[in-house]
Symmetry: C2
Subunit: 192 residues, 2 copies
DNA sequence: TGCATTTAATAACAAATGTTATCGCCAGAC
DNA sequence: GTCTGGCGATAACATTTGTTATTAAATGCA
């Protein structure tokens, strides 16, 4: 799992082994809740196999707002960083193999790598990138119709369409399952 | 303009004067374009007085997606950081007094303050905060109705409602001016 | 295998939102 | 002052999207 990353970072063997030994491997079935709303997130997750969705309860309605796949790291980021009660649930969609690291180890490693300029910039850039990602997704809600959002998703994140049940995709796009179904059938007709 | 910030940062007088001398004061009338779509953003703006909107052209439609007021800093952040052509226009709404700093000075100061742990963490946190802000705004598009979004805005950012022309607010909320007008009149009726 | 559960498609109707057009108000230009 | 253009409200109608209910197909499990 970790060898693929090994040579990307300018740290020595000993430090590397120290870091990866903080991860604990777990296997969980589909639909396993990994973090509940209201809990304070104390673990960072890295996905080896499977997928995860982040969702929250909006007046009884299940609203999904992010998906994560192999090699993604997952946490309720606000809760993890600021120690707030998590506003969201985190749950597996497929049976998954995950690596878990406790917050105290993450904090220690973060503090250490902040002293290494290359890694520090990498960290800052990754936060910027996540910000840009949100901006982009957000913009598409202002400027695009649901049909266009679906087409964007199909083009930019096809594995979401392939692997995720449709009712989760619908709430991710901000529409109902019925409407998503209509969009798909309309697109299929136009193609003919 | 800058004295209010002076004692917040652990840097000496000389450095402080060096930093603020990089700002150049300009006065511009309402509806002045400060950055055009397609240009590469080379200046950071700080608002002393007035307000600014960031918008883009979506197939001929003017879509506003951010507002900035006194003491905010403004840039097309993707363009400024990554040197991409800006996807957005930046333009004043009211006659404004602005302070402008060239990117090369910003970069130099950023590089310097990254070596000062307190400021470095401040920088990283401010990027996190901006990310959280986007997440929050984005979530409200998935979970809330336009009416609820308008009420949120009224409560959380009342100066947007007070100072910004309604058609900009409408596109910021992702609806038409007609619909925003309907929402307002419906709310006024319910209040009675 | 067969049964229960989940998932997706569709129809009929309701509600929300967009489009286009018109009117009136008001601030700024002259 | 008067005129003009920008702004906001409203109406009538069109379109999109949601709601509820039904059915069928796919999937997981005993």
């Amino acid at each position: 799992m970790f060898d693929q990353y090994k040579n990307r970072f300018p740290i020595d063997e000993k430090q590397w082994n120290d870091y990866i030994s903080c991860f604990q491997r777990i296997e969980v079935p589909a639909k396993t809740t990994l973090l509940k709303e209201g809990e304070i997130s104390k673990k960072l997750l890295l996905i080896e196999k499977g997928c995860i969705r982040v969702w929250f309860n909006n007046n009884g309605k299940d609203v999904t707002f992010q998906f994560f796949f192999e090699n993604n790291t997952v946490a309720s980021i606000e809760s993890f960083i600021k120690k707030f009660p998590s506003p969201v649930f985190i749950e597996t969609i497929e049976p998954s193999v995950l690596w878990r690291m406790h917050k105290k180890d993450v904090d220690r490693i973060m503090a250490e790598i902040k002293e290494i300029p290359v890694l520090r910039d990498l960290l800052i850039n990754s936060v910027f990138d996540r910000t840009f990602d949100y901006m982009k997704h957000f913009l598409s809600f202002i400027k695009d119709t649901p049909t266009q959002r679906y087409l964007n998703l199909l083009q930019e994140k096809p594995q979401i369409i392939r692997r995720i049940p449709q009712h989760y995709i619908a709430s991710y796009l901000g529409i109902t399952t019925v409407h998503l179904s209509r969009i798909k059938s309309k697109l299929a007709k136009e193609k003919k």
